[in-house]
Amino acid sequence: MYTLLFKSFFRTKIFLISFVLLMSVGIISIFIGKQYLLKQEKASIAAQEFQLESIKRNLEYHNDDLGLLLYYLRFTMIKQPANISAISIGQSDVNPLLQAVTIRGIEGQKYDTDFENPSLLMSGNLDLGFVIIYLFPLVLIAMTFNLYSEEKELGTWRILTAQTAKKKLFLFKKLMIRVLFVFGILIVLLIIASSVLKIAIDQYFLALFIQSVLYILFWSALCFWMVSYLKGSSFNALVLIASWVVLTILFPAIVNNYVLNKYQVPEALNAMVEQRDGYHEKWDLEKDATMTGFFEAYPQYKNYQVPEDSFSWIWYYGMQHMGDLAAKETSTDMMDKILQRNIFSEKVALFVPTMHAQLNFNSLAGTDMLSHLNFLAALTEFHEDLRLNFYPKIFDNNAADTIDWTKHEAKFYNTERNFNWVALMLPTVLITLFVGFLGVMNLRKL
């Protein structure tokens, strides 16, 4: 029975179209992921060279003025993308993976964006994640919408019912063959991806695989449920395409609009202005206005003298610090708002498998919002360490060549990716079981 069903399936036009579409777009998407990794790699190398070169060149000119030298020097922190991120590029095209900062105020530097074509950002990356989330369901729909109705409409259903008692089993087997075919393509694409993109077979990759399988099972259950109403082909096609539009376009977009409006972030713009004013107004004030705040934060530098009527680097970097301090509260509020956006989105996603899959792919790949916020936190810490390391040397008027500059190479940041198997799997499993159950209940009538 299975062999016959397989044969008849392989002879259909839809099989050929699906196969060619998924394989070709899938492979293109893997190469787009590859190019993304290459681009990051290139940028990372360029950043390391840039730092070496600029230290070397600036040392020539400003050896006797460390304060001035460090006004210019930029230190890079690079978020090393995990290779799996090529499968789900996520937010990492919008949020830069590397940031080169001076030891001046961090607030004015850490939100700098990288260059990317906004048309591309808008249309989104054609990564394998997209193929799985958008195209796989379409192919499933195309292969299953007439699972029953084609037999009915061609008149073969009567012959079938005459020949077999297990009508339900027949439909179920037909469905199984199609679902297995899609799984086959998924596995082939993931194998190609793991070898082309050199992705380690670890828990993240496994989790991504399982998430994909569950996601496809969800769509299979949904198609099965539709078919179980035993309606005509046109009706099924329409309803399934409408579900696809609602689940992959309309509903997530509505939630997104809602989130953007509900948690607006005017703090971003405020923090930017507060930082500048917090720093610049100090130029026109007594030195104490700066130094009191600075020494409060860093009592270890209290013993340094700050000349009242002339410029000094301790005063200058104190002023820079005051800028960050002025923006600190608003900046924290901004981070909170972004976190709230994330929490809300994740909550809604528990009920919508498309959104759940997308957010999970991103977090498994380390390309989600949280991962970027962690990077920003690490960058702030990196900046603090740099300053604390350089401050005493600047304040002591050390010459620049007393510092071992070879220690100041670009620094790499490794993403921490945490995930919970239950939270990852359970929502989709429950929804799939529920939808599948509805389908089975419907079919009892058959």
Binding site: V94, A100, D112, I241, V259, P266, L269
Partner: protein, 478 residues
């Protein structure tokens, strides 16, 4: 072709459409979506623009309230430019949320425009956004195809087509009648949305109302054409398919190709074919070129040494301190113009590559009407890339003027090193410096930018008419 017969067919089409439950459900859903889009589009526009206006004013006030000081300090104090939303962004969000909103303008440095909504969003942004235009571009076409797939195919399957022709109704009347029926039905959504939009335009248009109305009318006409083309495609596919089912499957396939697969694949292909440098690579290249030209940090740099000598000779003095203007102000002015020129050249090169990346999709407007309407819609709503670049260019021009005006003040009023005189100037100079005021791109420029998309839309319209006329003679009754 008899007018009353065509009218009759149109009327019948409307009646049939509203008899179906799916249509009622879809209409109800559309109304809800429409209300949501209006609400969220308006709130977004209104709140964000309000915040930005307030900020822009505050920034100007704090600029003016600076006390007397050295002009170069003011050049570093700098200013900010906040990007205003065009009132039509309520209609089409376009790239609105993917481009930055605020930029710090200071001497010596072109900062990036930061804080795009995308940079503060979760992964959900990838699914797109709901806007009035999105309903018209994506959802209504699906409805048109749904309403149109059966028009002719089912009549033929049922044998009613043969009856109609038998009763003396010409093929042309049937084709045109069905097409007008479908088109007019789709226009109900269009009109509802554009009426609401008109209210916004009158309520909120800050700039020239005439200019906004010009954009508005172009959008309206473009969508009219777009729906006419889609209706024609639906009728043609329906007529050339053996069964209604076949027509539906084909139309759904076409919709997926037009709206999702082709635009996204072409954009991705453009990205693949024309790689762009990252920011750090471009900055390295800029710095490299700058050092080649002249390194103002290097005391022995030949370019700046030659400049110094020529200035000394021109003013017939021996030391820079004896020049009639502040020499470091002069050097900074020269450096600013040099570095800005080099930076803009590199930036321009980068945008050329973007242009190449986008062209693949842009020219596909001739094979995909969705791309044509997408580009027209964004451009005339002031939410396309060119509109962003226009803002960015104005902000950069303001930055440059700010830096150079401060340099000029320094040259004019600050004494050279070792000479007597005050080291600060009066704060009335800050008050005299005009605030940043952004004017939107002229509509005529938008037309120039979108020639290809508009042309494609016209070509599609002509093709649609030809297709329908062709069908009027070839329509098979059985």
């Amino acid at each position: 072709m008899r007018r009353n017969v065509v009218q009759l067919i149109v009327l019948q089409f409307w009646k049939d459409a509203f008899r179906s439950k799916v249509m009622l459900l879809a209409s109800a859903l559309m109304v809800l979506l429409l209300l949501f889009s209006v609400y969220s589009g308006w709130e977004n526009y209104h709140d964000q623009n309000h915040t930005r206006h307030v900020m822009q004013d505050e920034v100007q006030k704090s600029w003016e309230n600076n006390p007397d000081k050295h002009p170069h300090r003011m050049a570093h104090y700098g200013s900010f430019a906040f990007r205003n939303k065009h009132v039509l962004s309520v209609f089409d969000l376009g790239m609105e949320n993917f481009v930055g909103n605020a930029v710090f303008l200071e001497a010596h440095k072109q900062n990036t425009v930061n804080f795009s909504e995308a940079s503060m969003s979760t992964g959900l942004l990838r699914f797109g956004e709901v806007s009035l235009a999105m309903l018209l571009k994506i959802i209504v076409p699906l409805l048109i195809f749904y309403l149109g797939f059966a028009t002719i195919a089912r009549e033929r399957e049922n044998g009613t087509l043969k009856l109609l022709i038998g009763q003396g109704i010409t093929r042309k009347e049937i084709v045109i009648g069905k097409w007008l029926g479908l088109w007019s039905l789709s226009l109900t959504f269009l009109m509802a949305i554009f009426l609401i939009l008109l209210c916004f335009v009158f309520l909120e248009s800050h700039g020239s109302l005439a200019d906004t109305m010009f954009r508005y009318s172009t959008l309206l006409v473009s969508y009219l054409l777009f729906f006419a083309v889609l209706s024609a495609i639906a009728i043609l596919i329906s007529a050339f398919s053996a069964t209604a089912k076949g027509a539906l499957i084909k139309l759904l396939g076409i919709w997926l190709l037009f709206v999702i697969i082709v635009p996204k694949s072409l954009q991705a292909m453009g990205y693949y074919l024309y790689p762009t440098p990252s920011k750090i690579e471009m900055e390295t290249a800029v710095e490299h070129d700058l050092i080649q030209q002249g390194d103002s940090h290097n005391p022995d740099d030949p370019h700046f040494k030659a400049l110094k000598d020529s200035v000394l000779i021109a003013h017939n003095v021996e030391k820079v301190e004896d020049l009639p203007f502040n020499y470091s102000g002069f050097i900074m002015a020269t450096g600013e113009s040099l570095s800005t020129e080099i930076y803009l050249k590199h930036q321009n090169d980068l945008y050329q590559v973007y242009q190449k990346q986008n062209n693949l999709e842009r020219f596909s407007a001739f094979i995909n009407p969705y791309t044509a309407i997408k580009n027209v819609s964004m451009a005339f709503s002031g939410t396309d890339f060119q509109s962003f670049l226009h803002f960015k260019a104005k902000a950069e021009a303001y930055r440059y003027k700010l830096a150079q005006d401060m340099n000029q003040l320094q040259m004019d009023f600050i004494p050279n090193r070792g000479k007597s005189g005050p080291n600060t100037i009066s704060n009335r100079y800050w008050k005299e410096f005009p605030p940043f005021e952004y004017q939107f791109m002229k509509t005529s420029t938008v037309f120039k930018n979108e020639v290809i998309a508009l042309l494609a839309l016209i070509v599609w319209s002509i093709l649609a008419v030809f297709g329908l006329l062709n069908l009027s003679t070839k329509l098979k009754a059985i």
